[in-house]
């Protein structure tokens, strides 16, 4: 008891008074409002949920680590996401929780609650019960509202606290154990939709105009910048209404961006944008490419993230250089894949490919080259489609249904290289429109095989790396890199993807006007990532939301 301050004791007394009045069946009558200063005004306002995003695996893990500490283990499977408009983030606004997914959430919730109420952790809780073998509603309410506020990213409503306290009391009583009861109250919050989904609520600011409420602003900023739940300072800024003023917002944005945790947020974004998650299920032909292993795959993914974050945040570099830089980071297994000696003692070493290496930015890293290939051979089409999609925001339409691709495969015939074989069907008019769209890109990358190793010939024939795209001629990967570097479509695509990612929208549906101001600042800064982020989230319309479709649908909810 001694570790509690007087302030905490008086708060505790308030809780006790409130809980008693609530539980003596005065229900939600005025007596319960004593603690209204602590609970949320959220439900009382005219706020409406305008977007609901299922937490991703990484968001969930980071949030739990920030709320309860890194020592809490999170073990379980997460439902897969899908990619919409080039981003998994967009699918979190569409997907729900299937029974299999919920089963996993409920198990994880209980496992986390067990750890948090376990003996090792108890000293961290904001209060201790009067007697450990009995319920203590005041302490329970204090603990659950403390963590609940972080889990739900807003203060809990009185009903929410009462529901969890009720549950805890009943079970504490039946098991003669305060902490056993607390465990279940905690678990109920951990599997509640308000934790599993990021609810974005908006309030009306004009006739048809709505804007995100302060807590939703804090949440959106925090998951974008840190890939995690808002910290105490950010929640307090929301509570005080500071995020609704330009100065208050800027102060928090600057703080979030000054933190090294920005690395984590941006890694998650680039992982999504560069589709590096698909790497987890890439398999390579172990007979043709015995060198390839799951270790190389993981390293290649890390290489690309390190290169990108180093350029974007550590060097505050020009994001166009992502297409051309020869600087990278290697570990031992990657060095082997690239056929480079690894004289370094540590795990990762910075490395710069020589000018004659043919390498050009992330385009020629093992990750991108291997991901968009077949198990046993490179695929100019896959690579071309991926580059168009990822870096230029130009998705390639599906091929027509009844195409005969047979000629492409006849390696024993007169057509020796992939280029010749591709050209054979790209001359057919139905195929040509799309192949002319994406193949040149892929063909210029043919100097690298399916696991990203450099090569000069294919089936004994010198590989022709020349390409012509959108009226520009170039040769090889470095030519492609320069083409993209100089192409404003690439930087606009990057801005579009960040915007869509942070709002959980389909990038294809985002009008260019939505991120125009941000893009201008991005360009003015010489394409610095930080400029893009800052100007985007500080734009006056960034937190605006469409008016919800229904004004007051509460009465239409059917009872289950």
């Amino acid at each position: 008891m001694s570790r509690r301050s007087n302030g905490e004791n008086s708060q505790r007394a308030t809780w006790n008074a409130w809980v008693v009045s609530f539980l003596s069946l005065t229900g939600l009558a005025s007596g319960a409002m004593a603690a209204a200063a602590i609970t949320s005004a959220h439900a009382a306002t005219s706020s409406q949920v305008v977007s609901m995003r299922r937490l991703t695996q990484q968001e969930y893990r980071n949030s739990i680590a920030d709320i309860f500490g890194k020592e809490i283990e999170v073990r379980g499977a997460f439902e897969p996401t899908i990619r919409i408009g080039g981003l998994q983030a967009a699918s979190t606004s569409v997907l729900s929780v299937t029974p299999v997914g919920f089963e996993s959430f409920t198990n994880m919730a209980d496992s986390i609650a067990i750890q948090v109420t376990g003996e090792k952790y108890r000293a961290k809780l904001p209060c201790a019960p009067n007697a450990s073998r009995e319920p203590d509603d005041g302490c329970t309410a204090q603990i659950l509202s403390h963590y609940g506020r972080m889990l739900f990213r807003r203060p809990l409503t009185q009903e929410e606290i009462a529901s969890a306290v009720n549950l805890s009391r009943g079970l504490a009583k039946s098991q003669n154990d305060f902490y056993a009861g607390l465990r279940y109250g905690m678990a109920s919050l951990l599997q509640a939709p308000n934790f599993i989904f990021r609810m974005e609520a908006a309030v009306p600011v004009g006739d048809k105009q709505w804007t995100l409420d302060p807590y939703s602003r804090a949440t959106r900023l925090s998951y974008l910048m840190w890939d995690s739940t808002p910290d105490e300072e950010l929640v307090q800024a929301a509570e005080k209404g500071e995020l609704n003023t330009a100065a208050g917002l800027e102060k928090q944005v600057d703080r979030l961006m000054a933190s090294p945790r920005l690395d984590i947020g941006m890694r998650t974004f680039f992982n999504d944008m560069l589709e590096l998650d698909t790497f987890d299920t890439v398999s390579k032909d172990s007979i043709l490419y015995p060198k390839w292993s799951s270790g190389i795959a993981a390293s290649a993914k890390e290489e690309t993230l390190r290169t990108t974050i180093d350029l974007a945040l550590h060097e505050n570099g020009d994001m166009r250089d992502l297409m051309t830089t020869r600087k990278t980071f290697l570990n031992r297994s990657l060095a082997a894949d690239y056929q480079i000696p690894f004289p370094f003692k540590g795990e990762w070493m910075p490395y710069e490919f020589p000018a004659d290496s043919g390498r050009s930015g992330v385009l020629t890293q093992a990750s991108m080259l291997a991901m968009f290939s077949h198990p046993g051979r490179s695929s100019p089409t896959k690579r071309g489609v991926a580059v168009m999609d990822i870096f230029l925001c130009e998705p390639t339409p599906n091929p027509p249904n009844n195409v005969d691709f047979s000629i492409v495969n006849d390696t024993s015939g007169r057509l020796k290289t992939v280029r010749e074989r591709l050209m054979a069907h790209a001359t057919t008019s139905t195929c040509a429109s799309c192949h002319n769209h994406s193949d040149p890109i892929g063909l210029s990358l043919e100097g690298f095989d399916t696991i990203g190793q450099r090569r000069i010939t294919e089936n004994g024939q010198l590989i022709d790396l020349s390409a012509s795209l959108q009226g520009k001629k170039f040769v090889d990967a470095q030519g492609l890199g320069q083409f993209l570097h100089d192409n404003p479509k690439y930087t606009a695509c990057l801005a579009r993807k960040v915007y869509a990612y942070s709002r959980g929208e389909n990038s294809e549906d985002v009008p260019a006007s939505a991120f125009k101001a941000a893009y201008n600042s991005f360009a003015d800064s010489g394409f610095r990532m930080r400029s893009l982020l800052k100007s985007m989230v500080e734009d006056k319309d960034y937190f605006s939301a469409p008016a919800p479709e229904t004004a007051s649908p509460a009465s239409k909810v059917p009872a289950q």
Binding site: I82, L95, A162, D285, V403, E549
Partner: protein, 444 residues
């Protein structure tokens, strides 16, 4: 005290308040202290799906003879041992009406829902296994269980509709853990007893479910549907707990093995040959011990990424890029992959048929629906989709027939399966695939 209503109900045990500290176990034991006796209900009929991408080669799988005396064609050969328990459907139509032919999707979606899909990679309704599960799964621990032998949980063709596919277990170990890990009590052992922890977890779920109305009240239409799905999932977890408090009635003599080791699960055919039979075995055991009544197994995605190490072309590429052998009249390498996949299918039938229970085997008390996305993958054709159905559905389905080319829509097979599984409905599918006539000759 309204908020506590469900909580108290859940906590009630034979009229006594469990929350008051009564020993939980007493109410589950009869007077002799043994677990409650079986009620003598008949064995449930189970449903399985087997998904394989890229179809078969029509010259090699369609028997020339229709009816009872059909011959085992080259690509049906791996299924020969189950000939009398198999129905082969050829010549089925897949009319897509005004929707595009989404390559590697429309055919699979049509087979699984009877509806030509309006969006790529989404089902326009619940898939057939989910529709059947709604009717037959009450009382089993898991409403459905899905597994993906190629190691990707997205290889699931079991869906609640839209983009909400049920994630598949991506390895034998994860499948085992879900089925026989936490929460499993072995009904083949004599010391089965309900776990009091389950009742407590039920009250937690009740508390979560009680917030439904409050959570739902300020959502737009689309988000409300998503939230409704969330609460349906909560409800299913409650039902799972309810099932865990009852000793499953089983007749099979099986032993639950130890957990399998971690295995490499990917598209390489040699790995699939190790993983598929193991997953099939675990699925069969889950059915035999009534952990689930619906088991879905896939060996690939529709544009199958299966490959044979050493061959630089994968299965999917091969279907598009291998020339037709002029002498044979088909793509020989593709035909080999087709056969490889039928061998994988045979392992599922083998495992189901190797567990005796009651008057037959688990296969005899099941239906197995094997379907695919294309009839002729080379050109993405869907008409003539190969469909294979195995198992007698506890005597409700006649087997050993080749139902040949009568031009019926593929949904007619689905309707027949739904009828055999006891789903009360008269019409299934939409548009040109809406059907009212099952294959009545096959139903008993």
């Amino acid at each position: 005290m309204k908020i506590d209503r469900r909580f108290l109900l859940r906590g009630t045990c034979q009229g006594a308040l469990a929350v008051m500290g009564l020993p939980f176990l007493d109410c589950f034991l009869d007077s002799k202290g043994e677990a409650l006796a079986a009620t003598g209900r008949p064995l449930p009929t189970r449903f399985n799906t087997f998904f394989f991408g890229l179809g078969l080669t029509s010259q090699l799988w369609i028997p020339k003879i229709a009816g009872k005396d059909y011959e085992m064609t080259p690509q049906l050969k791996p299924l020969e041992a189950f000939r009398s328990k198999l129905n082969v459907f050829s010549g089925l139509r897949v009319p897509l009406d005004d929707n595009p032919n989404y390559m590697h999707w429309s055919g699979a979606a049509a087979a699984a829902t009877g509806i030509s899909p309006t969006r790529e990679k989404e089902f326009d309704s619940k898939t057939i296994d989910q529709q059947i599960a709604d009717v037959i799964s009450r009382g089993a621990r898991f409403k459905t269980v899905s597994a993906a032998a190629a190691g990707d949980s997205k290889h699931s063709y079991s869906s609640l509709g839209g983009a909400n596919a049920i994630p598949a277990e991506p390895s034998p170990l994860s499948l085992y853990t879900r089925l026989f890990g936490r929460g499993f009590q072995d009904p083949t052992k004599g010391d089965w007893k309900p776990d009091p922890q389950v009742m407590i977890q039920q009250s937690v779920l009740s508390a979560v479910a009680d917030n439904r109305k409050q959570v739902m009240q300020n959502l737009g239409t689309a988000d409300r549907a998503r939230m409704d799905q969330y609460f349906t999932s909560v409800r299913e977890a409650e039902l799972q707990m309810e099932a865990e408090l009852q000793r499953p009635e089983i007749q099979a003599k099986v032993a639950i093995p130890d957990a399998p080791a971690e295995m490499v699960c990917n598209n390489a055919l040699p790995n699939l040959r190790n993983v598929t039979p193991l997953m099939a075995r675990l699925g069969a055991l889950a059915l035999a011990t009534d952990q689930t009544r619906v088991f879905n197994l896939s060996v690939s995605e529709p544009p199958s990424g299966i490959f044979m190490p050493g061959d630089s072309l994968s299965y999917h590429q091969t279907t598009h890029e291998e020339p037709i052998d002029q002498a044979l009249g088909y793509q020989p390498r593709v035909a080999q992959y087709n056969l490889d996949v039928m061998e994988l299918f045979a392992t599922l039938l083998k495992e189901l048929d190797s567990i005796p229970e009651g008057d037959g085997t688990v296969l005899d008390h099941s239906l197995v629906f094997a379907f695919t996305d294309q009839s002729y993958a080379r050109i993405h054709a869907v008409d003539g989709l190969p469909i294979l159905v195995a198992g007698g559905a506890s005597g409700r389905m006649k087997t050993g027939y080749h139902i040949a080319g009568d031009g019926s829509p593929v949904s007619r097979v689905g309707l027949t399966l739904l009828k055999a599984m006891g789903v009360p409905l008269d019409v299934w599918g939409k548009g040109s695939m809406q059907v009212r006539q099952p294959y009545t000759d096959l139903l008993t």
